[in-house]
């Protein structure tokens, strides 16, 4: 169920906010083996739930999100709760403030259950490279997956068969997918919300750059980062978007236009739509299953009367290398703040400031982070700046212009796959290094970040291994309403199955299993 339905239940007194919170916290405990959460704020959550319950009793809930348990990726600052970015650099760091999006959730009465796991500093596409260990995809423990993996013998091999969540917002995706909360915040710089959403069978929305405040989101790439929204259905994503979007004076990269929250229509006239299928997304690495799924989806729209055409985004193949340079360059700059002086880890080195900084950073950052900092600094060297950094900025414009041309020619929405295949088993995934994996996995999602466009991954079908496959819709800048309207239509057509989790206590599932959708009653 999603926030709106549960909200109705709370309003009508069918369930109390405190009980709801307890049940979710119990579920967090029971799904601990997924390693989706880094910190669980039990006491704070209970207090928030108690306040919410009092408001419901007075008949004065703050809004649709009042009393609803949510989770937040651990790269958002949360006052009084540890914020680690899954790194030794920030272990023990208790933020003195809330990120704007966190504050907005709390102001609406949402109950913050805890902080979710990620790749260290959001660098990665597996949620496997954080200091608290990898996140396990809840679908690894689903009946759907287990049925297709009967060839292995029972318990001894079971543990090595688990699949990754994708990343870097894997913890948030797993938290939503396993019913521990009703919505979660992620972040998206190269696909970090959409990728795990696709692998975990949930909706992952990347809003237009500039729509949602980044204040308090520990930055990776300032010109591409956005907070991401993970929910179990498209309507929920629209609800969350409505509460989070809008200008923030504390983030001057948020646009000043007034944002009007919207409800998604239950039906639309598909015949008015023009769907573009970008041919460059048809990469050789795409699994045949996903190719078929993508084709079927295009046919779905065609059969419903939409105009479905092939389009070209010619600079797509350069998106990853362009990202590689711009990302590492911005990372080199953004990670410079971690020096041990004001917050975070500090090495026990007193000889000189520089040696203390160097030791702190050696001890605090993992290889992935350090690798990107070094690469970034290389591209920013005076002798390399024009040839790499500025060059990449020019290629970025070409990539962004590709979209402008296509959207300017009458295409409303682009339809593409989100990932190359279903989720890989962890033991397979770690055979390649982080940069290689990221370069492979971000291919389909990255360009939307380059161009700042809104994009959403919607669960579409199960693979032959019983794992979720998602498809991605990319829309015009700031046209989230149209994007989500189309996504919702698609979601209704495909009727993606509910995960059947077996290892968790059954009686807790009953409240959560009925419907996924969020419609006020």
């Amino acid at each position: 169920q999603g926030p709106l339905q549960v909200s109705a239940a709370l309003r009508e007194g069918r369930v109390g906010a405190v009980e709801l919170c307890q049940r979710c916290l119990a579920r967090v405990r029971d799904t601990g083996f997924l390693n989706a959460y880094i910190s669980v704020a039990e006491d704070a959550a209970r207090r928030q739930a108690e306040e919410a319950e009092k408001r419901y009793q007075r008949g004065q809930p703050l809004g649709v999100l009042d009393g609803i348990p949510v989770a937040v990726k651990d790269n958002f600052n949360t006052a009084g709760i540890e914020t680690t970015c899954a790194s030794n650099m920030l272990k023990g760091y208790i933020s003195p403030y809330n990120a704007t999006v966190v504050q907005k959730l709390l102001d609406q009465g949402a109950v913050l259950l805890g902080k979710t796991n990620l790749d260290e500093f959001a660098m990665g596409s597996g949620s496997t490279d954080g200091v608290f260990g990898p996140v396990r995809n809840p679908w690894s423990y689903s009946r759907q997956y287990k049925e297709k993996n009967t060839s292995k013998s029972h318990s001894e091999n079971e543990d090595s068969e688990w699949v990754i969540t994708g990343g870097s917002s894997g913890g948030s995706a797993a938290a939503v997918s396993s019913f521990t909360c009703f919505a979660a915040l992620g972040s998206d710089t190269g696909g970090s919300t959409r990728n795990p959403a696709a692998h975990c069978g949930v909706v992952g929305l990347k809003p237009t750059y500039g729509l949602i405040s980044r204040h308090g989101l520990i930055p990776l790439v300032n010109s591409m980062d956005v907070p991401g929204i993970l929910t179990r259905c498209v309507d929920d994503a629209a609800v969350l978007l409505g509460l989070l979007a809008g200008h923030d004076p504390q983030d001057s990269t948020t646009i000043q236009d007034t944002f009007k929250p919207f409800e998604l229509p239950d039906s639309i006239d598909i015949r008015k739509l023009c769907i573009g299928i970008p041919k460059e997304y048809h990469v050789p690495e795409l699994s045949s299953e996903i190719q078929t799924l993508w084709s079927k989806a295009a046919d779905l729209f065609k059969d419903a009367g939409a105009k479905v055409i092939e389009v070209s985004l010619p600079h797509t193949p350069y998106s990853i290398v362009c990202y590689h340079v711009l990302c590492t360059a911005e990372v080199a700059s953004n990670m410079a703040r971690f020096d041990g002086l004001e917050y975070g880890h500090r090495a026990d080195m007193k000889q000189s400031t520089e040696s203390m900084y160097a030791a702190t950073r050696r001890e605090g950052f993992n290889d992935v982070v350090r690798g990107r900092i070094l690469s970034g600094n290389y591209f920013l060297l005076k002798e390399n700046y024009d040839n790499y950094f500025v060059k990449a900025q020019k290629v970025r414009r070409l990539i962004a212009n590709d979209f402008v041309k296509v959207f300017g020619s009458g295409v409303d929405i682009l339809l593409t796959p989100t990932t190359l295949s279903d989720a890989a088993p962890y033991v397979e995934f770690i055979k390649e290094d982080n940069r290689t994996r990221s370069a492979q996995d971000d291919i389909l999602t990255q360009a939307a970040n380059m161009a700042g466009l809104p994009a959403v991954s919607v669960p579409a079908a199960l693979s032959k291994r019983g794992l979720p496959l998602g498809l991605q819709f990319i829309g015009h800048s700031f046209q989230e309403k149209q994007l989500l309207t189309v996504a919702k239509w698609f979601e209704k057509q495909v009727k993606f199955p509910v995960i059947q989790l077996e290892d968790v206590k059954r009686h807790d599932c009953s409240v959560f299993q009925h419907q996924k959708s969020v419609s006020s009653l």
Binding site: P96, V325, D339, Q351, G371, N377, K394, V395, G452
Partner: protein
């Protein structure tokens, strides 16, 4: 082409992060090689793009103090402090050269 050792050392100083081992150096070489592909793109006459919001004006607020006075809060997260100061080891001491570094650290 390999990245020259002098550049590697220069990078370590700029980044204040070390390569740690041959694997780290190899990773950089790979990253540089990967980036070479950018040069296949013809960007003649193309302006670099700093931000997708380049056609808009950034919001600038009034230059008024609206928050602050949170010294105690901010100092809470610092490991070493005296009164209202963050304490740093002495500055203006350059990092030792690569060869000397191991002994330097052993001394401290």
């Amino acid at each position: 082409e390999q990245v020259p050792a002098a550049v590697l050392e220069h990078l370590e100083r700029l980044a204040l992060v070390d390569f740690r081992d041959a694997e780290g150096v190899r990773r950089l070489q790979e990253a540089v090689r990967f980036a070479e592909r950018l040069h296949e793109v013809d960007t003649e006459g193309v302006e670099p793009m700093d931000s997708v919001l380049e056609d808009r004006c950034l919001y600038l607020r009034e230059d008024d103090v609206t928050e602050g006075n949170c010294t105690k809060e901010l100092l809470k997260n610092a490991k070493e402090k005296i009164e209202e100061y963050f304490v740093a080891p002495p500055g203006n001491i350059p990092l030792p050269k690569l060869g000397e570094r191991e002994t330097f650290e052993q001394q401290s």
